[in-house]
């Protein structure tokens, strides 16, 4: 403008530049202390919405991680119970069946002793099939508070030998936004078979074995003879091992999912920090530059506003 400089124009000039410098300073100080570039949504609306979405994803991932832990716990308990069923019941019953087939054990006394052992195994099977974890039955479906299996008092001759009071549903757990994982095994199918030729009712098989040993039925052609029962037990063992294998596959999947979750969390956290973290070197530089600018403005304001005017020299 090449203009006149008047008293108020200096005032307006310095008032504005001091207020701008002060804003710069407080912004720089805020970033310096929070170490963040975004301190409120308006600092970068797009960036802050991205950060909000990622934070929410992380919170969900943390919940899924807790879900995975719960699923893992349930699956491990089921697996170890089923291993016991296989090793402590079925394989032992097979051994007894093989022993019973041996000529030296075919005396009535031996048979009675072996049959009693089978009965013990059936009791053990009952205990295992009614396993409770934290007061909940593992193999009862949704009816976690109902004892799933009871043996008929009149067994071994009753038909059916046992009754199942659980249900045919299985609980699942959410392990990601879109997928769930079944964490229960169906008690009825595991212990009673699913009705197909490759599966057997374990309680019934043990009852049949006991009856066959007691009656000394060793005929290879008899449907209720010891040799046929041995065959059934092999199927039963396979039936349990199949489920153990499927649980093993699930725990593998859980492990993979856990690693993925951890990876996703790390990635998201680093994205968040890319978006909202301040470059500290830059912020520190900005701060000292703002500080210098403020000092300079103050000094020049002080100097200029204090300049003497002609008035100072009037009147001798």
């Amino acid at each position: 403008m090449g203009s006149r400089v008047t008293g108020l124009s200096n005032y307006y000039l310095f008032q504005r530049s001091l207020s701008l410098r002060n804003i710069e300073m407080s912004r720089a100080a805020e970033q310096l202390s929070s170490e963040k570039r975004i301190n409120r949504p308006s600092d970068d609306p797009t960036g802050s919405v991205q950060v909000l979405a990622m934070r929410q994803s992380i919170a969900k991932l943390e919940q899924y991680d807790r879900n995975l832990n719960a699923a893992n716990q349930a699956l491990i308990q089921t697996e170890s119970t089923l291993s016991s069923v296989n090793e402590e019941v079925i394989l032992k019953a097979r051994d007894i069946a093989i022993k019973a087939n041996a000529p030296q054990n075919k005396s009535p006394e031996s048979r009675a002793a072996l049959a009693a052992e089978v009965q013990q195994l059936q009791q053990h099977l009952l205990t295992l099939s009614n396993t409770q974890i934290n007061g909940k039955y593992l193999f009862a479906g949704y009816k976690t508070d109902t004892t799933p299996f009871t043996l008929d008092a009149a067994q071994p001759n009753a038909d059916p030998v046992e009754t199942y009071a659980g249900d045919t549903n299985v609980q699942s757990i959410q392990i990601s936004d879109s997928s769930t994982l079944v964490i229960q095994s169906r008690g009825d199918q595991l212990f009673q078979g699913d009705g197909t030729a490759n599966t057997v009712n374990l309680f019934q098989s043990l009852a049949n074995l006991e009856a066959a040993i007691r009656s000394g039925d060793y005929s290879t052609t008899s449907a209720t003879g010891v040799p046929q029962m041995l065959e059934d037990l092999n199927k039963g063992s396979q039936q349990i091992i199949n489920e153990i294998t499927s649980i093993g596959a699930k725990t593998n999947r859980l492990d993979t999912a856990k690693i993925q979750l951890a990876g996703q969390r790390t990635t998201l956290s680093s994205f968040i920090s890319d978006i909202e973290d301040a470059d500290m070197a830059e912020v520190a530089t900005n701060f000292s530059r703002a500080n210098t600018a403020l000092q300079a403005t103050l000094q020049s304001a002080g100097a200029i506003l204090n300049l003497p005017s002609l008035i100072n020299f009037i009147g001798r």
Binding site: P45, A59, N67
Partner: protein, 468 residues
């Protein structure tokens, strides 16, 4: 040439010099007066009435002129108006932003996650009664936060209304001051002799323009006619009109502004015509911004409660009850954030939290199929015509509050800097410079001294004459 004329010329000179010193001292006195326009004395030689050729008629004061640039005054007038709008919105919008930002980190955003998380925990362990209590507590926290956010926005609406009310008082008193100055100028002899008063009135017009959009024109007698809100008369002659407002505090209700015409000759609703100044900023935030915030958060609360209930009521509680609402049923989205609450039955008995698809005495206490559906609502496209999840909708609101705040702040900064530029320009034309005034003091003091010397000389001449 007569000796008396030497007397008279000396007197003229002293007279003019002392008037000039008066103007200078007035300028110096007003050096820090905002809106003051420096004055200059206009001096002219008086036409001679003497028959003696070459003899001057002396000197006289022609007038005192206020130095202003109409162009710069108009710019200042216009920029003050848009500056006023953004400056008044800055605070409100900043406050809205911080409410949303807070609610993301410590409020609804966080609680929404925790609420859904608590359902997943319950799904993992459907038979643990403690987890039902956790669900209830998380839901209570969430609804409390909706309630508090709704309260904050409604309180802000009241606050802005009371700001509008204060602002109307300011506007009315400016209008009546301008009317009084009109009277002073017109009765005091018009434009030519009232430079001071006109500069003051100009500053009041600028202040008024910062408050609300006005236009004005000056009559030949020196009075100004002021029109507000696109044409309605606010100041006419010596009369000022006044603005008043009606505040509809009902849901979605708006505030409206009524102008009582100067002289009480009727009244008009001018709300639609107000499109500038601080009043417009306040009115916009009151009627649009805040009502939008309230209805956005209400929509979220309503959809959450309604959609959650729709699934929950199909389920069964552990006490075999069914058809239970989880949140107290909401009649409409209006005010939903303020009234959302956990259903009283659930509050009294968490066994009614229904996560089973069938009666648990039939399907078993481990039945969590409805619970799974409820937890899945977290990731369902439940909002904005099935395009957003609850959380995404909420994040969108936080984001748009941020965008709005960023844009208003940027505008306010731009307008402030423009205003500053024009103020500097105005100062350079109309401001008082101490050195200039110092020089004037010296100039007129010397002139006064010289003129008084002339009187002294004339006195001696007369003495000499009488002594003859």
């Amino acid at each position: 040439m007569s000796i008396t004329s030497v007397f008279n010329r000396g007197l003229d000179g002293m007279n003019v010099a002392s008037r000039a010193l008066g103007v200078t001292s007035n300028n110096i006195a007003n050096i820090n007066t905002k809106g003051y326009a420096r004055q200059e004395i206009q001096i002219g030689s008086r036409a001679t009435n003497s028959r003696v050729p070459g003899q001057g008629g002396g000197v006289e004061v022609l007038g005192v002129e206020s130095i202003t640039s109409p162009f710069i005054e108009m710019q200042l007038f216009g920029i003050s108006n848009s500056y006023g709008t953004y400056d008044s919105r800055r605070q409100t919008v900043g406050q809205i932003e911080s409410i949303w930002a807070d609610s993301q980190t410590n409020g609804i955003g966080k609680s929404l996650n925790e609420f859904f998380g608590s359902f997943q925990e319950l799904n993992n362990n459907p038979t643990l009664p403690g987890l039902r209590e956790t669900v209830k507590e998380k839901a209570n926290i969430l609804t409390d936060q909706f309630n508090s956010m709704s309260r904050q926005f409604n309180q802000m609406r009241l606050d802005v209304s009371s700001e509008i009310s204060t602002r109307l008082t300011t506007i009315n008193s400016l209008a009546s001051d301008i009317a009084q100055l009109n009277q002073a100028i017109v009765n005091g002899g018009g434009v030519a002799v009232n430079g001071d008063t006109i500069a003051r009135r100009q500053d009041l017009l600028r202040q008024l323009s910062e408050e609300v959009n006005i236009s004005y024109n000056q009559n030949s007698n020196g009075g100004v006619e002021v029109r507000v809100a696109g044409g309605a008369s606010l100041v006419s002659g010596f009369n000022a009109g006044s603005l008043s407002f009606t505040d509809n505090q009902n849901y979605g209700g708006t505030a409206s502004i009524t102008l009582t015409l100067p002289g009480g000759t009727g009244s008009i609703d001018v709300t639609a015509g107000i499109n500038g100044g601080r009043l417009y900023g306040n009115l916009y935030d009151r009627n649009t911004t805040l009502n939008n915030q309230i209805s956005s958060i209400d929509t979220l609360a309503y959809q959450l409660a309604t959609q959650f209930n729709a699934v929950h009521s199909t389920g069964y509680g552990i006490d075999s009850s069914t058809g239970n609402n989880f949140f107290a049923a909401l009649a409409s989205a209006n005010g939903a954030a303020g009234s959302i609450a956990v259903d009283a039955q659930i509050k009294a008995n968490t066994a009614k939290i229904s996560i089973a698809e069938q009666d648990p005495t039939v399907s078993g206490k481990g039945d969590n199929r409805i619970g799974m559906q409820l937890a899945a609502l977290q990731n369902s496209m439940t909002m904005s015509s099935s395009t957003q999840t609850f959380a995404q909708y909420f994040q969108g609101l936080v984001g748009s509050a941020g965008t709005m705040s960023a844009s208003v702040q940027k505008q306010a900064a731009t307008q402030a800097s423009l205003l500053n530029q024009v103020q500097l320009q105005r100062e350079s034309v109309s401001g008082v410079n101490m050195d200039e005034e110092g020089a004037n003091i010296i100039r007129y003091q010397k002139a006064f001294q010289a003129s008084s010397k002339m009187l002294q000389i004339a006195d001696q001449l007369l003495d000499d004459l009488l002594r003859i």
